[in-house]
């Protein structure tokens, strides 16, 4: 293993903020080097300097011992430094091959495209990666995981020596992650240096050789992965010891039922799902990506139509046809995709806080009581210790954790009794995660009933009083906090209908549900 990249004494200031001071980073050939830190620690800025998106104020970058200047992203690519962003940058309407070679297409003469040559070259790269994707498939027809592989193929087509991956597993299911790790391992064996940015500590432990920790724009330390425990890394990141692992308490069955869902069906996405929710309960929804958990949540919330099923709130049947109806019945939904479905990024904290309860802050003719809005916003900001300079701050300038708090504030302002959290901590850094967990527990203690959808098993296990597990649109199991383990959840999460039928036929007995 020889040195590939060395960054030293890197400084970078933005107007009013010192983003990086005296930072360093080092990458060897054939190494997976994880770069971790809370949001705002400076990881992205560091990598944007390495890939020529930003220019550094001070410091030097060496590639294989030779000092380089990376003037722009194109220059970085020519030097063999490639980045795969968290948000994929593919043209959805073009094919795989067209995407891989966009801007560098093989041509016949100067004007005409040579699609055959492009497709052949794309196939070569995909074969090398051992993945079975048709170069002529439209990118929009691929799953997110496969699209990511196309991005990797695109990076490799530049003869990448350095591959930077920003949160590559954020949108992947467990089996897809296994596939991704296989590809990463292959690349590592071929001598590619990989920078791996992730919030998921368990993954770092599995895939990385070394870990560099950053905090508040400064370099903290670089350690060998096998020498440290996750807890140590986390405390290095936050500069303090944080949350304690532990099991949630069991459901208090003496509490009344606030929500009952019976035989909910919607096309192929929701198949005969029934469950109930007690007052003050945190009901976890576990399952692989695409299991239908979000669909169930959206159906209950009236965001999507469903085919059949009965919903009871506080024992009374309700007919929810729109989010409006759901909100009127005291249900709040916190989407997994905050930026698209949760907040209005361009509007300020106060407006977002009262978005669901405008009628409480205005009179009959629709005149807004701004003073009351500010008061309520102050109250919510204080209650959740949301970090914002003031109520007029645009939500897009807040970190993910604080955006989530604004959304929670929105539903608390509406006084909802049933809160559906869809991936409440996605994209939120470790420190803020702990705060969100604390908040969820407090809400449950205060008598709110919570449905929490999460793809992170540790999160499910830590928070849920009871766990519903889904697989391919069906509810395959319900576990109490006591009996739930990673293994038992995965067992139900992978219990496919066809497997069940095969089992049933084999045992010559009825299907279990």
């Amino acid at each position: 293993m020889s040195e590939l990249i060395r960054m030293e004494g890197i400084d970078k200031a933005f107007p009013g903020v010192q983003a990086l001071s005296q930072c360093r980073f080092e990458l060897k050939t054939g190494e997976v080097h994880a770069l971790v830190g809370e949001n705002g620690a400076g990881k992205s800025t560091m990598m944007k300097i390495l890939t020529g998106v930003y220019t550094k104020d001070a410091g030097s970058i060496f590639l294989k011992g030779k000092e380089i200047e990376v003037k722009n992203p194109r220059a970085a690519q020519e030097l063999g430094i490639n980045i795969i962003h968290q948000e994929l940058n593919l043209c959805q309407h073009l094919t795989v091959a067209q995407n891989i070679f966009i801007g560098r297409e093989s041509r016949v003469g100067k004007l005409f495209l040579n699609d055959k040559a492009n497709e052949a070259k794309a196939k070569e790269i995909l074969d090398m990666m051992n993945i079975d994707i048709n170069p002529r498939a439209r990118v929009s027809s691929l799953t997110v995981a496969r699209q990511q592989m196309v991005e990797i193929a695109k990076a490799l087509s530049f003869n990448a020596d350095v591959l930077i991956m920003d949160e590559p597993t954020a949108a992947l299911t467990d089996s897809e992650i296994v596939e991704l790790f296989r590809i990463i391992n292959d690349l590592r064996a071929k001598g590619v240096g990989i920078v791996y940015i992730s919030h998921r500590m368990d993954e770092l432990k599995k895939i990385s050789d070394r870990i560099t920790v950053m905090r508040d724009g400064t370099y903290v330390d670089t350690v060998n992965t096998k020498d440290v425990e996750i807890k140590q890394i986390i405390s290095m990141m936050v500069g303090r010891q944080i949350y304690v692992e532990g099991h949630a308490k069991n459901t208090d069955k003496s509490q009344p039922l606030v929500l009952e869902v019976k035989n909910l069906n919607s096309g192929r996405q929701i198949k005969n799902v029934s469950f109930d929710l007690h007052k003050g309960e945190i009901l976890g929804f576990a399952g692989l990506m695409g299991a239908g958990r979000t669909e169930v949540a959206r159906a209950i919330f009236g965001a999507d139509k469903y085919d059949s099923g009965d919903i009871f709130i506080n024992g009374k049947q309700v007919h929810i046809k729109s989010p409006q109806d759901a909100v009127a019945h005291g249900i709040g939904y916190l989407s997994e995709d905050r930026k698209r479905y949760g907040v209005a990024l361009g509007l300020d904290v106060a407006t977002n806080t009262v978005m669901a309860s405008m009628s409480n802050f205005s009179n009959k003719i629709g005149w807004i009581d701004d003073e009351a809005i500010q008061k309520q916003t102050d109250k919510m900001v204080a209650a959740m210790s949301t970090k914002t300079p003031n109520n007029k701050q645009r939500v897009k300038n807040l970190s993910g954790g604080n955006q989530q708090k604004v959304i929670i504030g929105k539903w608390l302002t509406r006084d909802c009794d049933i809160l559906i959290f869809d991936e409440p901590t996605r994209g939120i850094d470790v420190g803020a995660k702990g705060e969100i967990y604390k908040l969820l527990n407090e809400l449950a203690d205060a008598g709110k009933s919570i449905i929490m959808i999460s793809s992170e098993l540790p999160e499910i296990l830590r928070m849920s009083h009871r766990i519903c597990v889904m697989c391919e649109g069906r509810l395959t199991g319900v576990l109490s906090a006591q009996e739930a383990t990673q293994e038992s959840i995965m067992h139900f999460a992978t219990m496919r209908e066809t497997m069940e039928q095969a089992d049933a036929e084999h045992n010559n007995q009825g299907e279990t549900k």
């Binding site: 989010p323 409006q324 989407s335 978005m355 405008m358 005149w367």
Partner: protein, 336 residues
């Protein structure tokens, strides 16, 4: 903390910058024409400019609401004409009282807006297409309902005073006959509508949801807001404003001209974007729109008085629109 407040200060500066830029361009343009062109700087010409801004300005006010939701209304110009044509038929042909005709004009505009809103919000037809259709339909209806004959209000001497008279002048003349403040009613109506628009946009739930839908419609819907209904409301309001513009236009010409109006929506959009309203929605102000409308008319008037031919006036307005939007993009980029 201090770092944060500096960053925030920078943002506010960039924000006010745009408004300041539009306003200072207006003042600068006015000064330049005053110096360069001898006939430009006079009370009469200034009033002319404002009078010319009135119809376009009222259209632009309605358009501001629609554009803030992230939509567009291509039917502004022809709906304006159609509304005034309906008024013409009612008043000039059928002898309906003028006041009822005025209401009918506004209601017609509002109904066209409601129809737009229905197809956009309920039927999910893209605003560009729905309002393009409405543009063609109302253009056709204006001709069809009148047999392509203009309607004249010459039998109603008071009608032309709605836009061309001056309440302020009458009032001060009543106090002292030698005084004069000849601000045309059209201009007073424009400012009145602007104040009304500003209040609706900044002080009411309606205005707040207008911004919210433009910023993130799905998040707004998932907050339990009936976005379809509010959106129909926005297009209806825009239509009502269009009806008011129709009254001003008809009164100014003392007739309902069946063939004009098409293309005026584009001038109105130009005013809106010069005023800093984002075509992608979620941002915008009424004050900006008024400044935009005045700026365009100062430019046109100045060029006309300078004997610059019509075709070059168009070239100049086009350049201004592109420049204004470019400045807006620069501002956004700075803000990050």
């Amino acid at each position: 903390m201090s770092a944060k407040s500096i960053a925030k200060g920078g943002r506010i500066n960039a924000d006010t910058m745009q408004k300041f830029l539009a306003f200072s361009s207006l003042v600068l343009l006015y000064i330049i024409f005053s110096v360069v062109t001898p006939n430009f700087f006079s009370l009469n010409n200034t009033i002319d400019i404002m009078r010319a801004s009135a119809v376009q300005g009222v259209l632009a006010l309605g358009g501001t609401f629609v554009i803030i939701t992230g939509g567009i209304d291509l039917s502004l110009g022809t709906v304006m004409t159609f509304s005034s044509v309906i008024m013409g038929i009612l008043v000039a042909d059928m002898g309906v009282p003028v006041w009822l005709g005025l209401i009918a004009c506004i209601v017609t505009g509002a109904l066209c807006g409601l129809t737009n809103g229905f197809f956009i919000a309920k039927m999910k037809i893209p605003p560009f297409i729905a309002t393009l259709g409405m543009m063609m339909i109302t253009r056709g209806l204006s001709l069809a309902t009148t047999g392509a004959n203009n309607k004249y209000f010459t039998d109603y001497p008071g009608f032309r005073l709605i836009a061309n008279g001056s309440v302020t002048d009458s009032v001060v003349k009543a106090i002292n006959p030698s005084w004069s403040i000849p601000i045309p009613n059209a201009v007073l109506i424009l400012f009145g509508m602007a104040i009304l628009g500003h209040i609706i946009l900044t002080k009411t739930v309606f205005g707040r949801y207008t911004f919210a839908m433009g910023s993130n419609e799905e998040a707004t819907r998932l907050s339990g807001v009936n976005t379809a209904a509010w959106k129909m409301g926005v297009y209806t309001l825009c239509g009502a404003f269009t009806g008011v513009a129709g009254i001003l236009m008809a009164s100014r010409l003392n007739s309902a001209q069946v063939a004009q109006g098409a293309g005026m929506e584009l001038d109105a959009f130009a005013a809106v974007v010069i005023g800093g309203t984002s075509m992608s929605g979620g941002e915008g102000t009424i004050l900006g729109t008024i400044i935009g409308a005045l700026l365009m008319n100062v430019l046109l008037n100045g060029l006309r008085i300078s004997m610059i031919p019509q075709e070059w006036q168009w070239v100049a307005t086009g350049a201004i629109v592109i420049f204004a939007v470019y400045m807006d993009i620069v501002r956004r980029r700075k803000r990050g």
